[in-house]
């Protein structure tokens, strides 16, 4: 009886995620259809020069939980036409994350940056950061996990083969070591990169001007004055303040009400 209980639990454990995924997918598909419809309607408004109306529809599409580089680009274009430089940069950066090499997005970003009041030099990223980014751009965590899992199953198969069918010898031993090592590395890479992604939290200044303070207090000394549309890196948060870094390496505290995370 106990054996049946265990088998039932295993069966349930296998089926439960699949069931929830299929349920979620059904809901998501409906939301996606609604998002696409809002996007198309927003495009009509944007073409007619109704930028605020277009933005309302695009925001509806965005809130459905689905996103596309094209949606964010069009939102950015609408904000650009409404002279909201900070929000234009914010959505361009979002579009760039989804489609890093899109020519339109990159061009619009260069135009927006050209109009940005701050001119800071760019510090290079540390080499390990570059390596991690390079890896993530080439091998997604899901692909790495899939390959690692296949190898892990292969390793189990090889061990069972040794126990039940006597698959012994140097080559079988090497195969087990290699498969196990690759499986461990790939699964470790996938899980650690998923938990601690190499992309830092970035944000865009939305207020026309903002002070970078020495302490998380408006009365503390202002280190730097930054302006709308500047992309900053959020290092830490404390209440209504965030410790941020500007591209030239200057660090300071800025009120969280003055920026929005990408």
């Amino acid at each position: 009886m106990a054996k049946f209980g265990v088998l039932f639990l295993l069966f349930w454990a296998l089926l439960a995620p699949a069931g929830s995924v299929s349920f979620q997918q059904e809901g998501s598909t409906m939301l996606l259809e609604a998002a696409v419809q809002s996007f198309d309607e927003g495009n009509v408004q944007l073409l007619n020069g109704q930028f605020s109306a277009a933005l309302e529809l695009y925001t509806q599409a965005d809130q459905g939980g689905w996103a596309s580089a094209e949606l964010y680009y069009n939102m950015s274009l609408a904000y650009h036409r409404l002279n909201k430089a900070g929000l234009a940069v914010l959505y361009l950066e979002k579009a760039k994350r989804l489609s890093p090499s899109d020519v339109k997005v990159l061009h619009a970003l260069s135009v927006a940056n050209h109009r940005q009041a701050d001119r800071f030099s760019q510090l290079p990223d540390p080499f390990w950061q570059k390596i991690r980014l390079w890896l993530v751009n080439r091998i997604s965590v899901f692909v790495a996990f899939g390959i690692g899992l296949s190898m892990w199953i292969g390793l189990i198969g090889l061990i069972i083969g040794k126990m039940l069918f006597g698959l012994r010898g140097d080559w079988w031993r090497r195969a087990r070591i290699l498969t196990g090592s690759f499986a461990f590395c790939l699964i470790f890479y996938a899980l650690t990169t998923s938990a601690w992604p190499p992309i830092e939290e970035k944000a865009v200044i939305l207020s026309p001007e903002a002070g970078l303070h020495e302490l998380a207090d408006n009365t503390s000394k202002e280190i730097l004055r930054i302006h709308e549309g500047l992309v900053i890196t959020v290092k830490n948060r404390s209440g209504d303040w965030a410790f941020v870094e500007v591209s030239n390496g200057s660090k300071g505290w800025v009120s969280t009400s003055l920026f929005e995370t990408i």
Partner: protein, 621 residues
């Protein structure tokens, strides 16, 4: 012979070179100086006439100057000649020095004198010297025997403190080109370091930030390895170098000050009679720390006159404007580049583009601005360029009106206006839709976003759960391990079955007895009485045999009883078993005496005895 020939040729070449260098020497310069402006009654003063720019052939020894309050120690001067080569230019100078001794306290004067170089006469100015009582002068430096340390005379070896230079030995002078200027006018401030001949400086650095509140500032280039220039200042000879040169532009009217320039340095005075050996091996001790600061420079800025032209936008200086277009014939939607370039002297950084109108059907984009500043001269010059992109939206003949640029000319102290001619533009082709704009090389519009995306094929979940947040990831990782674990358990059980017979029989006892009991039940239903009892006996005896790992065939009742007793089975249970086996024998061999109730009772008893024996034997083991 040949060697001699080359020597003669070499000497000729060298003499030609030297004479050529000297012949190109600068104009003759004569100056007079003293080594100290204030001396004690028991001290002397050295008066030097320096002649530079002369090769010495036509230079006559000047006569000794007359003096009042001083008397000449020797009538013939001591002479010095120095040759220097700077940037390949050789120059030499001659010095004539007389030593005077004071005759009384108070002011003394060395009178002007005349120096003849060829047929030219040069006149020096009079120099005054103050003679004070000897007690007011600092004590003379110790006379140190340079050989005392070598020959063991170690008397008074305390280190002597380095002599600090006075304000007249070393100072910074701030020299502005003007003390009064118009708002926005360029004023150059040059900071020159003066130091007496022979003073050595090292490790000089700025100690404070230099600021000029109320001014726009631009730094000008100065020599990073300056060659000192010799000047006579107030009768004393100094070396001077330029420390800093800056162009400042007053941003408002009124009196405003520029901060002093402060430097810190280490200086070594040449004077003093020190032990030369000590000096040679302890140069470090001979330098003393000095801090120098120039004086503040105050500049009175006056507001610009009020009659400024309409096109004036704050430019002050001297400028020239040029306007060019890259083409004048184009099609609708194509672009024209209009370049306005303003060059001249003044504050180019704050210079704004001249305002101009374009035809209504032209789109005008923000200009691309570039500046080129020349900081190498003695004032700030350069140019600023504004590149505009214009795009006609309809065809026809148009005209870009004249462009005006006004500035306040600091030389003539008046406003001047530079004006271009109107530029005719011919646009051909047909009007296109408004969103067609000129494209850059990658097909994107100039200084604007590209048109919208009308469709989107790739949609992604906005905030998908991360890999590590999904439960199935961990299940997929653990499931293969569980399979492995199960395999290990099965394998071990299988091995035990094949290697441990008693354990295997014990494990099989229950299933076999159950199987026999099941068959017995079937036989009971079919009415096969002897078969039924045979299966019943086989079930019970088979179970006991497997449980105790004995062969049940040929086993007597007594032996069975004894073996069960050894395994800890109690008497009552053994009696029950014996009775059941007896009833089985009865049923097998005399089936007619058995009733169906007895058969069912036997089946129940067998079903009850098997677990009881199992329990008691298990407890014992």
């Amino acid at each position: 012979m040949r060697e001699r020939f080359f020597r003669i040729i070499g000497a000729l070449w060298l003499s030609t070179l030297v004479s050529a260098s000297l012949s190109t020497a600068q104009t003759v310069n004569v100056d007079a100086s003293v080594n100290a402006k204030s001396i004690g009654t028991e001290e002397t003063v050295a008066y030097t006439i320096n002649v530079s720019g002369s090769d010495g052939t036509d230079l006559l020894v000047p006569p000794a100057p007359n003096a009042e309050g001083l008397t000449l120690i020797q009538s013939l001067p001591s002479t010095q000649r120095s040759v220097s080569i700077v940037n390949g230019q050789m120059s030499q100078s001659f010095g004539f020095t007389w030593i005077f001794r004071p005759t009384r306290e108070g002011n003394a004067t060395i009178a002007a004198t005349t120096v003849k170089v060829g047929n030219r006469e040069f006149h020096t100015g009079p120099i005054s010297v103050t003679v004070v009582p000897q007690a007011q002068r600092p004590p003379p430096r110790r006379q140190v025997d340079p050989f005392s340390s070598l020959f063991g005379n170690q008397v008074d070896q305390a280190p002597e403190a380095p002599a600090a230079p006075s304000n007249t030995d070393l100072f910074i002078r701030a020299i502005p080109t003007a003390r009064s200027a118009y708002q926005g006018e360029q004023v150059i401030i040059e900071y020159q370091l003066y130091f007496r001949e022979g003073i050595q400086l090292r490790q000089s650095r700025l100690t404070d930030s230099w600021d000029a509140e109320g001014f726009w500032r631009e730094e000008l280039d100065v020599e990073t390895r300056p060659v000192p220039r010799i000047v006579v200042e107030n009768g004393l000879r100094y070396n001077t170098i330029v420390l800093k040169r800056a162009a400042v532009f007053p941003t408002r009217a009124g009196a405003m000050s520029v901060d002093p320039l402060k430097i810190e340095s280490e200086a070594m005075l040449p004077f003093g009679n020190r032990d030369p050996f000590q000096s040679m091996f302890s140069l470090r001790n001979r330098f003393s720390q000095v801090q120098l600061a120039s004086s503040k420079v105050t500049i009175e800025a006056q507001a610009l006159p009020g009659n400024a032209p309409v096109s004036f936008d704050g430019a002050v200086g001297r400028y020239a404007m040029t306007v060019t277009t890259d083409r004048t014939n184009l099609k609708v939607g194509e672009s024209i580049q209009l370049t306005i370039s303003i060059a001249g002297k003044g504050n180019l950084a704050t210079l704004s583009s001249p305002k101009f109108e374009v035809p209504n059907s032209f789109d005008l984009y923000d200009p691309e601005i570039s500046s080129l500043l020349d900081r190498s001269g003695r004032e700030l010059t350069g140019s600023k360029t504004f590149r505009y992109v214009l795009i006609p939206r309809s065809n026809g003949s148009f005209e870009i009106p004249p462009i005006e640029f006004s500035y306040f000319d600091t030389n003539s102290k008046s406003y001047k206006t530079s004006k271009t001619d109107a530029t005719p533009i011919t646009v051909s082709g047909t009007a296109t839709t408004p969103d067609v704009v000129v494209a850059t090389t990658n097909g994107m519009p100039v200084d604007d976003f590209a048109p919208l995306f009308t469709s989107s094929s790739v949609w992604k979940q906005a905030n998908p759960a991360s890999l590590h947040d999904r439960a199935w990831v961990y299940f997929l990782l653990i499931f293969p391990s569980m399979v492995l674990l199960a395999t290990v358990v099965i394998k071990k059980r299988r091995d035990k079955f094949s290697h441990n017979v008693s354990w295997a029989r014990s494990q099989r006892a229950h299933p076999l007895s159950k199987k026999h009991l099941k068959q017995a039940t079937a036989l009971l239903a079919s009415g096969d009485i002897s078969g039924y009892y045979e299966e019943l006996e086989r079930a019970v005896l088979g179970f006991v045999g497997n449980r105790l790992n004995i062969a049940e065939r040929g086993l007597t009742r007594e032996r069975l009883d004894g073996m069960l007793a050894n395994e800890g089975v109690d008497v009552e249970l053994r009696n029950r078993l014996r009775n059941l086996l007896d009833s089985c024998d009865m049923g097998r061999f005399a089936p007619s005496s058995v009733t169906p109730e007895n058969m069912e009772l036997a089946l129940d008893e067998a079903s009850s005895i098997i677990p009881d024996i199992d329990e008691q034997t298990a407890m014992e083991s």
